[in-house]
């Protein structure tokens, strides 16, 4: 009976207006332009025993020794109690055994996460991004309206009545529209997205060892397992048949990408002999820049240089490095890469 009264009173309380004292709390929580600087992080959190409560006693901390307890135990523990494998197949949302998230260590798809905060990533966010925003700003004087691009998909113009709701035509001279360049704002600064390292060895036509060596070199440089690719079409001139595995690629994202680019710019590029820089015409008009390294330049990577003798002679491959950015034009991508430290030479083609 008392419980029912409690429930009813709680339910009814929700329909009453909040008491006047709460208004003061609400008003004080409102942030105006004149509010003081943000309080410490822990002050904004709810009160909880984790923050306010005391931890375990010092004696308890000193006595805690799970490894020691395990060593002193004579009997074996039943494996069924301590071994767990997450379900192999997803049986639907109502099944009692749900697979854990891929970020959980117990998941089958768990890949150990970031191991460090890369220096290049920090430099980008602290220094390069704000400089980029300043450089890419285009001022619009007051009274002028921004230039509006004309219709990209062309209408059908003419006498025929059937032109009215006909689907619009594509651009002149081709099928695909070029990427639109959005103005660079603080939300829109071009960033490094991913890096693809690719190598193809024609020695692999005759010997399988060449492909294995290329794979090991790529793995050593990039910290990512290389994927092999089949040849799609047979070309007799090159002596190549469809289905042969001749090329490898590695996709680098996040931490691996930043570490690879740091190594490339700070260690490998300064050691390259007579290297003028990346060609100015490099770029796919969508903000992705590619460069190539020769075999002797790949050998300059510290991971390859450390055990250079272990690789069979002349089997260390050269590679193509494609840097994908979130920029939509070549100039934007080149500006970002110049900030990172990659030099360009020759005529810049947009």
């Amino acid at each position: 009976m008392a419980l029912l009264q409690e429930v009813t009173s709680t339910f009814l309380r929700r329909f009453k207006a909040p008491p006047a004292s709460l208004h003061r709390i609400w008003a004080s929580q409102c942030r105006h332009a004149s509010t003081e600087a943000v309080a410490q992080e822990t002050d904004e959190l709810e009160e909880s025993s984790f923050l306010q409560g005391e931890g375990p006693a010092q004696q308890a901390i000193e006595r805690f020794d799970p490894a020691g307890v395990a060593k002193r135990r004579n009997r074996r523990l039943p494996p069924s109690r301590y071994q767990f494998r997450s379900p192999r197949y997803y049986r639907g949302p109502l099944h009692p055994h749900q697979p854990p998230r891929p970020s959980e260590p117990s998941s089958r798809e768990f890949a150990p996460g970031p191991f460090s905060l890369p220096r290049l990533e920090q430099t980008y966010h602290d220094t390069l991004a704000s400089d980029y925003m300043v450089l890419a700003y285009a001022h619009l004087p007051p009274g002028q309206t921004a230039f509006k691009k004309g219709e990209r998909l062309r209408r059908w113009e003419g006498d025929s009545p059937y032109f009215k709701n006909r689907p619009l035509r594509g651009p002149r001279g081709g099928d695909t529209l070029r990427l639109l360049r959005k103005p660079v704002t603080f939300r829109n600064v071009p960033q490094l997205q991913r890096v693809t390292v690719h190598t193809m060895s024609s020695d692999a036509i005759n010997s399988g060892a060449a492909l294995h060596v290329s794979g090991m070199v790529l793995q050593a440089i990039t910290n990512v397992r290389a994927e092999a690719h089949e040849v799609k079409k047979s070309v007799a001139g090159f002596g190549v048949r469809a289905g042969m595995y001749l090329s490898l690629t590695c996709e680098l994202k996040g931490e691996d990408m930043y570490h690879f680019l740091s190594k490339l710019v700070d260690v490998v590029m300064p050691k390259m002999k007579d290297w003028p820089g990346v060609k100015g015409s490099s770029g796919d008009f969508s903000g992705n820049i590619a460069l190539g390294l020769k075999a002797e330049e790949v050998a300059l990577f510290p991971e390859v240089e450390v055990n250079y003798d272990m690789y069979p002679p002349k089997l260390i491959p050269g590679c193509h490095i494609m840097i994908h950015t979130t920029a939509t034009t070549d100039q934007d991508a080149r500006l970002l890469l110049t900030q990172i430290g990659i030099p360009f030479f020759g005529k810049l083609v947009h």
Binding site: W26, A70, P105
Partner: protein
Amino acid sequence: MNAGQKSARRIAASNGPISRDTVCFSCLHRLTHPSRRNASTAAALAETPSAPTQQPRHPNPPVTTAKAPRKAYQLLASPVLSRPPLLTRDLTSFEKAYYLYQKRLNERLALPFTRYFYYKKGTPGDAEWKRKIKVRETPARDIGVYAAYGDEGWNDEVLVGDRTAERESVVEALVRDAEGKAIIDEEVVGDENKNGLAVAGDAKTGEGQRRDLTKVEVERPVERVTEADRANDMRSLSRKMDRTLYLLVKNREGRWRFPQDRVYGRENLHQAAERILVQGFGIDMNTWIVGNHPIGHHQMNYTSGGAPAPRLAKITPNRLVSTSRDRAEYEQEEYGEKVFFMKGRMMTGQADIAKNEYGDSEFRWLVKEEVEEVVTGGYWKSVKDILAER
């Protein structure tokens, strides 16, 4: 705000009695206390009956022509010269613990280390490797002693208060590894007479022992906290290497400001900023002005007792601006100052206050919080959003 009230009222009316589950706290308070009236609500109520038939506003309205005679303002350029952070920031305790745990999990999932791919059999490098791996049980050098595939592989989490993830421990482990020592000091086999450095009776135990024949000198990493940090030398560029430092000067009025000067002749802001750095601090600074346009501005009107008090300024040609010499010295009545801040980056060099031509007494390289402390309130409001947090 008008629209918000209307829609909240609509929701409240349609769902029956007003409850905290249908309407948010602040709207609920406003609806239950309708007696509170101020000028804005009166104006809003007056507006709502008529249908809005205003013309759409110009997105970029032009500057309206002034009806009164034009007022002149002192036009100033001010380079905000910054030394970007040279070091990465310190990791938080959570990040350190997280990275250590992820590294240990990686040990449990990665394939075993292929020793013979890196060390040839029988070489001294191989012997050194075998000796070291015996102690630390894992190829990784920064995760402490941990055997991922051993009996204690389950014990991958470190206990509270463990210092394995701290920067000092990692540096110590790497330096010891480079010197050829094991990660932790092992017990030395030997007898008392020869101070424990002799080889044991049987050859096998003595085989793995390391003898200090030549001491390997390994260069330790330089400290993150420099002399300038300890002495809190505010003129040094080596202070607070993980933060952005900004160059401020104490002008002849005794106020701390970014270096600033009038724009002369036909020079633009970018050129003025470069000239100010040279005239203020000498030519021993390797700097770069980012972009040709300002990143912020500050306006100060000359007033006395609330009323505008224009000042008569004498403008003399500047020796470094050739176009300023086109016009002889002239006078101008100025109603205030308009300062435009230009972003500058410092690469190498140092400021030399002895070469200053503006009468500035001293300079300092300050972090954002320190700038707030020395600068006046109005100036800080104009400047705080153009300074970097780190």
